[in-house]
């Protein structure tokens, strides 16, 4: 009895969490006649790729796709390059201002970014950086930086310092020891950190909306999707197909992450 109630609740939770995404996907595959019906079908009886074709052929689709990819990758790489040394300094070295720096990173991590939309818009305007993709790259770089530092700090701290010391004894310099010993062990950490950064930047809407205003050619996918009514009118099939395509990379990244997170490589380096 109790078991049945529990399972019923579980099925309820599962249904609520999955249904919206399920509805998006099957709407994208339904022929238009089946979407424009009074009684919705909960299973696509006659699946079609028409809506995906409409979405892909929509004006600017590939431009927005390329913009999103370029901005996101740029931000992630920049964040990694800047965060790695900072994370190392926090995890491995003892220095007077260390605690202050960590506090600053935590503050930045919880910064109310939406309250900075107006000043960032004005600064970008003054610097003639509106409607330019590098501006977005910079913004996404800073929004993902705190998280990247905190996460990498954890991964670096998990690499036993004995390994580095051994390399130093063998005559490596500090930088060489880091590159040869720590960096290879950090690979899974770098991977998952950058993937989380990728998701954050890929999804970002508020700044793209505030900073890319005039030029259609500089929009990213979230902006394009937010104006779906202007693009597809009431073509809900194409709208859902576009949303599905937008979600696909994030979903793939999540699937990769699941495996990466549980990799016990670092624990095995010393104990094994």
């Amino acid at each position: 009895m109790r078991r049945a109630a529990l399972n019923l609740a579980a099925v309820g939770v599962l249904a609520v969490s999955v249904f919206p995404v399920y509805w998006m996907v099957i709407t994208a595959f339904k022929p238009t006649v089946d979407i424009l019906t009074e009684t919705p079908a909960f299973w696509p009886a006659r699946p079609t790729l028409d809506h995906f074709a409409t979405a892909v052929r929509a004006a600017g689709f590939w431009t927005f796709w390329r913009n999103s990819l370029a901005v996101t990758l740029g931000a992630v790489v920049l964040a990694l390059v800047v965060a790695l040394p900072a994370a190392f300094a926090v995890a491995r070295l003892r220095w007077p201002a260390r605690r202050g720096f960590i506090l600053m990173v935590f503050v930045a991590q919880t910064a109310p970014w939406s309250a900075l939309l107006v000043p960032v818009y004005i600064i970008a305007r003054d610097a003639d950086m509106l409607d330019r993709l590098p501006t977005l790259t910079l913004v996404y770089f800073v929004t993902t930086l705190p998280f990247t530092i905190v996460t990498l700090r954890g991964f670096i701290a998990a690499v036993p310092p004995e390994l580095e010391e051994a390399a130093l004894m063998d005559g490596c310099g500090r930088a060489e020891a880091f590159r040869r010993v720590v960096l290879p062990l950090l690979a899974p950490g770098l991977m998952s950190t950058s993937l989380f950064g990728f998701i954050t930047a890929w999804n970002e809407f508020a700044f793209a909306n505030a900073l890319m205003i005039k030029d259609q050619g500089d929009r990213t996918l979230p902006i394009w999707l937010s104006g779906f009514a202007n693009v597809f009118g009431t073509d809900w099939g194409a709208t859902m197909a576009a949303a599905t395509l937008f979600m696909l990379p994030v979903l793939l990244v999540f699937l990769v992450l699941q495996r990466r997170v549980s990799s016990g490589m670092i624990a095995g380096a010393v104990k094994g």
Partner: protein, 314 residues
């Protein structure tokens, strides 16, 4: 033996000495780029926002520059009008409704997970990861489709259940209905993180504690109140303050679905600040509202940061 010891001991000392010597400036060099990034793109905009909030800064000043000092005029205007206080009340209602729902549902789900069969647990967790992975803009688009007036599946279900007034009901024309949909959307998106984190915390509690409580005759509510909650209190605190910060500063969902409308019914503080800056070109007033928002957040932030420090053991 002694010689061998000496041999291993000496290089270690060298390492120590080398770190100390370089320790003076190395760390600062390593964090310099990160510091520069925070200074240029976080501290500077924040400072600029505060400065603008004390200026007369509208369309003319945006184009020509040369904004004049205006003292507290913008703050007086914001705090003096009824609109700002209506937005503040709405923001509190928005935050309270979302955070309470998120925490209650997430706790219930987290407590349910350990009692499920292996397969069912995996299914529920995968479902929640799917929700978590859904991009905000995909989610807003989906919810607009779910609640569409004529073809939306929600109205269809409600009519089938006998609520005939929902036939062709236009959710997004009504302020309260739009507010409710936005709450549903944010709760739907936020529960997975909270529930999975709480569940991860739950799994660290040794089973003996539950057994002991049960032997002492504690019911399920007592077990939660006397064992589970006290142990997980820091985690609860951390998640709650994070959710408060996220929900209060939430912008994308509201802007993408309603732009703060209809009739301002979904304009929370960040949305309102952006609205008056963007559509009325009142950058000064918008900045004043933003600054006031940050000040309100500061209280939550301080509590949260203290918890972070304790948890992370920095």
């Amino acid at each position: 033996m002694a010689r061998a010891l000496a041999r291993t001991a000496r290089p270690a000392l060298v390492v120590e000495a080398r770190t100390r010597r370089k320790g003076a400036f190395w760390p600062y060099l390593l964090v310099a780029p990160a510091l520069a990034a925070f200074a240029c793109l976080l501290v500077y905009p924040l400072a600029r926002s505060v400065v603008i909030s004390f200026q007369h800064f509208r369309l003319g000043e945006l184009i020509r520059g040369g904004a004049a000092f205006a003292g507290l005029a913008n703050y007086a205007e914001a705090l003096g009008g009824p609109e700002f206080w209506a937005v503040v009340r709405r923001t509190f209602l928005w935050t309270a409704a979302n955070v309470v729902l998120i925490m209650v549902i997430a706790t219930a789900v987290a407590l349910m997970l350990p009692h499920l069969g292996r397969r069912m647990r995996l299914a529920v967790m995968s479902g929640m990861v799917l929700t978590w992975a859904t991009p905000v803009l995909a989610a807003t688009t989906i919810f607009q489709w779910l609640f569409q007036s004529r073809l939306g599946v929600v109205n269809w279900v409600l009519v089938r259940l006998g609520f005939d007034s929902f036939r062709d009901y236009t959710w997004f024309a009504d302020g309260r209905a739009t507010f409710a949909i936005l709450v549903a959307l944010v709760v739907w998106q936020s529960v997975p993180f909270a529930a999975l984190t709480l569940y991860a915390g739950l799994t660290t509690i040794p089973g003996e504690l539950y057994e002991a409580a049960r032997i002492d005759g504690a019911g399920p509510w007592q077990v939660f109140g006397r064992v589970t909650f006290p142990i997980l209190r820091p985690l609860f605190g951390l998640i709650t303050s994070l959710e408060v910060i996220w929900v209060l500063t939430c912008f994308a969902q509201i802007w993408a679905i309603s732009k703060g409308g209809p009739g301002g019914a979904t304009a929370t503080l960040p949305v309102y600040a952006f609205q008056i800056a963007q559509s009325l070109h009142r950058y000064d007033l918008g900045s004043a509202v933003s600054t006031l928002t940050v000040l309100m957040l500061l209280a939550v932030l301080v509590v949260h940061l203290r918890r972070m420090f304790r948890e992370e053991g920095a």
